[in-house]
Subunit: 251 residues, 2 copies
């Protein structure tokens, strides 16, 4: 069994580049056993599995496996405590459906990778149909986003696109746009009832939604805070709203 | 004006120790202008303000100010991008009220500093009366927790104590204990209505609440997830529940 022990190995150097967005044209990296299992379950196209000798016994024999030293594995991972496996997956080819009818989450220029990942995971848990992210939102194939998403991108599609085009498509599909504002010059979310087809928009952590979004949304809403904190974390606010507007039946 | 430029200055060395829990007997450190303003507004006892020359003009002249070089300031902060001010505050002396009647959040062994801080901030926003944390929960005077709390510990008291004693006190005060479980062997939160006096318990990120807590809580509840994600981030779950059980009137 050949074990790659050098960080300057050509394959390792090429693979490591995928940690940077500009090199993620066709492939991306995931780290850890949980994400690998989710990838396998969802039928994602796995290109290479980098694993330490110790982790080998957790995998079925396959041509995709490259055994590496723990140091080389750490080089491919951005985690402080790498779990012994990193996989290279093909970026999925997604085509936007003609009609956008369903329950959607929209992230407009959300910057923090942890917030982006957590919100996609929450939309998945709440049974939403897809997530749309603006071109300035953190890339979902960033390893930090992938860690906080916990595999939710295998469960529901995430589309990156211009907000202008998205709003036009929502209009054509008669999907109601509910945009969250940081100010109180909008209605409390409990006064709004969501129809079957709607999109909930969350804005940037510091700035909130854009003026363009505020002008074009069907409803502007906020979460009334009876306490003294000035604001909520955006992922917490999204959780409150996603579960409020989701019409799941209690079990 | 004397400027401290050496990291081996005795005062700097002593102050830096406050980054570690074992040295936080009487004082703790906060970082950034927002937290300093919150501390001033709340009347917290400020012992020393370390500021760079550049930040000086944002402060009124006071004996508490020590001017330091940017390098020395970075030494006192754990932030990647320090904001130019670090303050040493006295740890508040809090005594537990005789009767525990109100709306409370309880954190049992929550480990991640970001989660702990975000949940206290959310309880503050939702108008809860206090937060109780178990002895194994991340210390709230950790700089990461302080950053995600955004000053909420100046708005509502946070008590660290044994869960056994806390549950006895809740029982005596007839405060209902609602504990969140990760399993579905409990009721959906929308089937429970909270009385005037209750405590919402959130457990450890991986393990959930303890067996002791599960046995002694009045109700066990979960959030029904119609989607495919296996779980919610604990701070997101807390946000959904805190706002659901909080009886604030929409504005």
């Amino acid at each position: 069994m050949e074990i790659i022990r050098s960080k300057s190995n050509q394959l390792i150097k090429e693979t490591k580049k995928l940690q940077q967005k500009k090199y993620r044209k066709n492939s991306y990296l995931i780290e850890g056993w949980h994400l690998l299992e989710e990838a396998q379950k969802s039928g994602a196209q796995i290109e290479i599995i980098f694993v330490t000798e110790e982790g080998m016994n957790r995998l079925e024999i396959s041509d995709l496996i490259k055994v590496v030293s723990p140091e080389v594995l750490a080089e491919l991972s951005d985690s402080v405590t790498p779990q012994g496996v990193v996989a290279q997956l093909a970026l999925p080819k997604k085509s936007l459906p003609e009609k956008l009818t369903g329950k959607y989450l929209v992230l407009e220029d959300v910057q923090d990778p942890g917030n982006v990942g957590t919100m996609i995971r929450t939309a998945d848990a709440a049974g939403y149909d897809a997530v749309f992210i603006s071109t300035k939102t953190a890339d979902i194939y960033n390893m930090k986003v992938l860690r906080s998403m916990q595999g939710s991108h295998f469960h529901l599609p995430v589309y990156r696109m211009e907000m202008r085009e998205l709003l036009e498509r929502f209009k054509i599909s008669q999907t109601l746009v509910l945009a969250t504002t940081l100010s109180k010059g909008s209605v409390d979310y409990r006064e709004v009832s969501a129809p079957v087809s709607f999109a909930l928009v969350m804005g940037n952590e510091g700035q909130g939604i854009s003026d363009f979004m505020a002008k074009n949304a069907d409803h502007l809403l906020h979460i009334t805070m009876p306490g003294k904190a000035e604001s909520l974390n955006v992922a917490v606010a999204a959780g409150i709203l996603l579960f409020n507007f989701n019409l799941g039946v209690p079990q």
